[in-house]
Point group: C2
Chain length 197, copies 2
DNA sequence: GCATATCTGGACTAAGCAGTCAAGAATCAA
DNA sequence: TTGATTCTTGACTGCTTAGTCCAGATATGC
């Protein structure tokens, strides 16, 4: 290892703080000062460690995905009943969305914010990929449910998967704009009911 | 009438241009220069005629609602079959969302943008009211459908209305992030299918 | 202790922003 | 024509922003 003065802060913790700020305020509305204040580090330390604002945002999105989205995806692929996994998924979304302070989903918030200006920014591409992998996971679980006889054979996996992802995104959006736990539960129950057809 | 030099531009057309800019870029990302350029008027004319940036945004939201959202609400309340009106509603949303350049819905975009910072800005309150009136309209149409025997009596109007509004918001969000016509159609068909239960 | 390498803090730069000001132009009433 | 009123144009102000520079601090390897 090369010598030199060591970092005075924990990189992972600092990144986590950055995630929180971006999550609450969005990308543009967050200033470098907001970030340094919450992360508890100096301006130069931020630039040394994370590059510019956009790089930091990229890392924040990635960290958020690992912490929040990946576990959701894992629910779908849990061993046991695919239909139960789908139900569990939506109940968890309702739960997750109504805890915390209506921050919504960092990826959704960011997608909306960037879609207007940088339609093909690397950040936006990453987010789109993540949502696509959600749809793929959903489709696979649906297929497994059909094979297991838990879901009707008449179901078109692609159609249902797209529909469920749509509902999912709707819940994230409602959460951001201040929906109550009851509201989110109702939507989740609607999604679950739509499996029985 | 008081004398004075008359406006050199059409107020309504200028406002329409402002709607387009805010719709494409969002509130923060839109500068006064962006606005004056697209509206074809000078800086001072903008301030004289519309007040500050936030007032202009308020007027833009209102104009957007009158032009885009109100007709959607009217579909639900059209005379004839309530169930058909609900179907028509979702097909129209899919159509509306995939025309244009993935601008999504101005009210959704704005809600996401403001929810992070000014949680109780007047603009946000207006938008929330608009969505609430959509849910009320939805609920009423559902009740009419039940009374007419088109929808099952076991349906809870509140639950279904909330669910459908959630799907609706999901479609708006997907549209903003670049969903294709096919994707939106699949979600719409899912919503329609969920009426038969 | 000394050389080397990295980190930190604060001042700084250049650009972009919303909003204002003042001087001139266009209209109407009399 | 003259005066009152409103619109237009362009320069301007004060502020915030992302990102840079540099001097000093703190570590390691020898």
């Amino acid at each position: 290892m090369v010598p030199g003065r060591p970092l005075e802060f924990n990189r992972t913790e600092a990144l986590q703080s950055a995630v929180e700020v971006f999550w609450e305020k969005g990308y543009q509305a967050t200033s470098i000062e907001d970030l340094t204040a919450r992360m508890g580090i100096g301006r130069q330390s931020l630039y040394n460690t994370f590059g510019d604002k956009e790089s930091l945002m990229s890392e924040a999105i990635e960290a958020y995905f690992q912490a929040a989205s990946a576990p959701m995806l894992a629910i779908l692929q849990a061993p046991g009943s695919p239909a139960k996994n789908l139900k569990m998924f939506f109940r968890r979304v309702a739960e997750h969305c109504s805890s915390g302070e209506h921050k919504g989903c960092l990826m959704v918030n960011t997608a909306v914010e960037f879609a207007g200006t940088d339609r093909d920014s690397p950040i936006l591409k990453t987010i789109r990929n993540r949502f696509q992998s959600l749809e793929r996971g959903m489709r696979q679980t649906i297929r497994q449910g059909i094979e297991a006889g838990e879901l009707s054979k008449r179901i078109d996996p692609l159609q249902l998967a797209t529909f469920l992802v749509g509902i999912f995104q709707g819940m994230l959006l409602m959460s951001k704009t201040g929906a109550s736990r009851e509201t989110l539960d109702r939507v989740a129950e609607g999604a679950i009911a739509s499996l029985k057809s």
